[in-house]
Amino acid sequence: MEQERKQDETWVQVAEGRWRRLTRRDFLKSAAAGAAAGSLGPLVLTERTRAQPVTLRILQWRHFVPPYDEWFNKVFAPKWGEKNGVRVVVENVGLAEIPAIAASEAARVAAGADPGHDMIQYLTPPATLERQVDTDAHREVVEELKRKVGPYIPLAEKSTYNPVTRRYFGVSDNFVPDPIHYRADLWRQVSARLTGDQRVPLLGPITWDDIRKAGRELKRMGHPVGLGLSQEIDTGMWLRALMYSWGTGEQDEAGNVILDVPPFRQRTLDALRFVKALYEETMFPGVFAWTAASNNEEFLAGRISIAANAISIARTAQTMAAAAIRRGENPNQSPAVQFARNTWITERAPRGPAGARGLEHVMGVYFIWRNRPRPVREAAKKLLIDLVLSYDPDVAAREGWPPGKFHASQAYDYPTFQNAISKQKRLAYLRDDPVAKAAGDRKDKLATIETAYEWAHNVGWPGPSSAAIDEVFNTWILNVMFARVAQGIDTPEQALDAAAAQIRRVFQKWREQGLVGGRR
């Protein structure tokens, strides 16, 4: 009966962003009333019932790679809109502004009002918003894309699917790998100097121990290691990568808090002791004032020798080198070009006692609000599917929106539907990287980023990126735990117990909401 009623309904756009659901009977009644209303009727009803093109309003971040926004806003969105009869309105805001906007829009959705945007791209898994998003639409998109291009990688599944409610709270179109950047020239000098059990590989760090050993020398040379220990996103990422590589984490697969439970307790304590030693031997007090921009600022200023970041450091160095070449500098003498050439990324995440585990740097996740009218919902779904398909440059060219998502983002956005662009095509781009070539840099330098599929994990691994994990991440509980030990304010045991107690309270709250699994 309900299904019949739904089928009988039609959505009528009464103004931009405002839609009304009418049954056929309502529609006919309105039309009849309009006819009877004489001269005023057409003014009101014709306006209301005339078919208007669907408007799809998207909020997303101002991409780190500006040409991506150029492509999305000026090529993909308008051409896709033209082809599908949809007016696409894109609003780009700073990454940090998105949570507050999404929170206020969620309240409007809960109150049954127009949220202001139909679809938002979050840069972290938005698990806390699950109740206000269209989980069915997300599932449909994921299933359709799995049918079309193949598997959705586990990192994305764990970042968008809630195993407790069995719902998709978003659709991830990309993840950004988070490799270690290092100064190859300085590393080579240190590698040549260290011998015996202090030896480190010539071609960059492979283990966390390598970073510690070489870091001591690098600090003596005036180029310390730069890994943040403050209340910001990059700190949260590398510390989790280290914990996961030590075989511990916030939770197990079922969502039980484990960091202080044997045998994980000992591993967490070991990780805390390692970070304290790493700080004391290789870093400097500035890491406690780290911001999301510090990696780039400190590395590109030539101050630090090692940082964890998306490929943005390497890309910025290349952009500066390309600008120097355009100014007429000789590539073999230009400091900017030399600097770009000496900015390398590790092949994999650094290995700890339990493995080489890294994280995503940011996780692109789109979600559609749950109260969007059917035409808008369908348009949003179609756009997401076409956006993922547009990773493939041939598909993008055929559809009329070249060069496609992978190329437009300069390999910054890595596909979560791994075959949306084949490995062969990804490597073809990365082995003949146009950005590197323009910078006079080695043209295949970033090709190793491809290994991220093997080592990049979600926040909260081995469990899902749940609402509790999101709150723990954004209230910096682990960052503070490590920082207090590194500063010698707390012993590892004190810091661990305090953090675990806070994390348990957070998990309990979200368990009571029915969004998080586990029992302890």
Binding site: P99, A107, Q231, P285, G286, A289, Q487
Partner: protein, 310 residues
């Protein structure tokens, strides 16, 4: 003609009606009351409601859970630290603001060449958007490229290449947050005290001078008692602004290093909006309320005394 006269008479009647105290007073008050109800009263009541529920950003109405959020907040060591920091930042900043604004107001009492330019510069921190000016401070206190460090190195007070790491050390970060609050609130307090100074009858000061009072005695026994009512208003307004501000901490330190500069307003934002735990965020923000209520009562009393005094 008759129509015009009729309209004129109606307008005149309307004006007379409007000028009645019973009509005019409420008419003038309505916008302010509506503003307070809509932008202060409603959010406050909603925060109160949220604090009794388990609301989250994804479920903004929640279900009733009694005082559980308050219990949670009182168990949380970060919330206790934020509460303590909020008081310490506010008190320290306001003591400094009152001392410095008195000094400035005394210096600016009398006309001198360039006084207008000094006043303009003095007012800049007050008129500049707080987020922009705090970002300016973020660069001034940058871990590596701090202009303060550069100056200290230039003066030989820091070794070459060394940095203070202003925002990376708890004591220095504390000082930095207080300094930015003082910098922001100083113009307001100075302008209020200057207005107070201009209202002190010159006869009183002349009389004190004839009696042989020196500058300190004149200040202590004549100016200060007369300035007290307006100074209290400046102090209370400054207290409320500093107590409720989250921008300075959010932009400068994000509560760090390791939560040592976290204040209630910033913690409420991190928990409630960024962390999605709306009800706990609302509960933390409500901890500000008792202090603000007391401050508001004192402001009103002080304002009334100031009216009586003048």
């Amino acid at each position: 003609m008759a129509v015009a006269e009729g309209i004129g008479a109606a307008l005149s009647r309307g004006r007379t009606w409007l000028e009645r105290d019973r009509v005019l007073a409420p008419t003038l008050l309505v916008p302010a009351v509506a503003y307070i109800v809509l932008l202060v009263g409603f959010p406050f009541l909603f925060a109160l409601y949220l604090s009794w529920t388990d609301a989250t950003t994804g479920n903004p109405f929640g279900r009733f859970i009694g005082l559980a959020n308050f219990a949670l907040v009182f168990q949380d060591p970060v919330a206790s630290r934020a509460l303590r920091n909020t008081f310490v930042f506010t008190l320290t900043a306001q003591v400094l603001v009152m001392v410095l604004s008195n000094v400035l107001a005394l210096a600016l009492r009398r006309p001198f060449r360039g006084r207008g330019a000094v006043m303009f510069l003095l007012l800049l921190p007050w008129v500049a958007p707080v987020s922009l000016s705090t970002i300016g401070w973020l660069w001034i206190l940058h871990a590596r490229f701090s202009v303060l460090d550069w100056a200290l190195r230039g003066l030989g007070l820091l070794p070459p290449g060394a940095n203070m790491f202003w925002l990376g050390r708890p004591d220095l970060a504390f000082g930095a947050v207080v300094a930015v609050h003082v910098w922001r609130m100083l113009p307001f307090a100075t302008v209020v005290l200057l207005a107070g100074h201009s209202a002190i009858p010159q006869d009183f000061l002349d009389q004190a001078e004839v009696d042989g009072a020196n500058l300190w005695q004149k200040y202590r026994h004549v100016m200060l008692p007369l300035l007290a009512p307006v100074a209290v208003v400046a102090l209370l307004f400054g207290t409320i602004f500093t107590f409720t501000d989250m921008t300075v901490v959010y932009v400068l330190t994000r509560g760090g290093p390791f939560d040592t500069t976290q204040v209630l307003a910033s913690l409420a934002f991190f928990k409630g909006i960024v962390g999605g735990n709306l009800s706990v965020g609302a509960t933390i923000s409500l901890l500000l309320f008792p202090v603000l209520l007391v401050a508001a009562v004192f402001v009103l009393r002080a304002a009334r005394r100031a009216e009586v005094a003048w």
